[in-house]
Symmetry: C2
Amino acid sequence: MPPAPSASSRAHDLHATASQRLRSDGQRYTTNRRALVALLDTTDHPVTIAEVLTLRAGLAQSSVYRNLAVLEQAGVVHRVVANDEFTRFELAQDLTEHHHHLICSACGAVADFIIEPHLEASMADAFAPGGEQTGFLTEHHRLDLVGHCADCR
Amino acid sequence: MPPAPSASSRAHDLHATASQRLRSDGQRYTTNRRALVALLDTTDHPVTIAEVLTLRAGLAQSSVYRNLAVLEQAGVVHRVVANDEFTRFELAQDLTEHHHHLICSACGAVADFIIEPHLEASMADAFAPGGEQTGFLTEHHRLDLVGHCADCR
DNA sequence: ATGAGTGCAAAGGCTTTGCATTAGG
DNA sequence: CCTAATGCAAAGCCTTTGCACTCAT
């Protein structure tokens, strides 16, 4: 495995990639969209719309919804569905690192975590064929652990 | 592994268990609640509220929401979060068979499926310790495959 | 100049709640 | 009997949409 890129080079790649994917989708990489991508790059967990509005006061709520939808369509961000009523967003996993989620069933908090590579590989092997048997074409898998976070134990 | 129980004995166990869990929670096993459990026992996928109202016309919408919440609290049913805006419910997996979900990213459909026992075991082994490292207490894991169903391929 | 993007406000749609009535134990 | 459960309707809340204005190309 190559060493992790530095923060600055990763940020450069990130915005360059985001811009490119939006262009391919006929969309512009505007100031607001860049701000959203930059924000998602700073967090270690998927963020809710409310968090976005708090962390980046000044963004219009409707623009946040619309831009996250555009970014999702372009494959830059990914919609995360947890246990509560709030939709969360994170950077697409091919822009970060493939990971999974710890979901607190008490407070709804979501944190990222990574599993051992060999288990990840086992799952990758097992799932594609499993899906095909039923006429289902697998795009990706979603593995979450549901339990209680440190604050709610 | 013991042979699967017959449908009738399983139904008996199911309702007896449901009743018992509700009692433990200070709740009654009413006609409507029994109807919900019976309905969930007939499906091979988690059902939305809309499906419940269609399949069991006559149940009041608010009662369905309230009773599913009560049944969830008592550990009889389980809330399933997929990719769309609809909440789905299924029987708790200790009343059925541990399984996973195929989620169609196009139409939102959810189907049940089962993975190989050895992989299931690998995951069970890997997850509990992985969670503890971060102060997270794992209750259960959630593994879904997201892709396109036969109708949407 | 010209269409995409933005912000504000209003509308939508799933879900929850209030309250009077009914039924379970 | 007496409390919990039910049904209907209204309210809540996250999310989406309409529309006029602004900005980038």
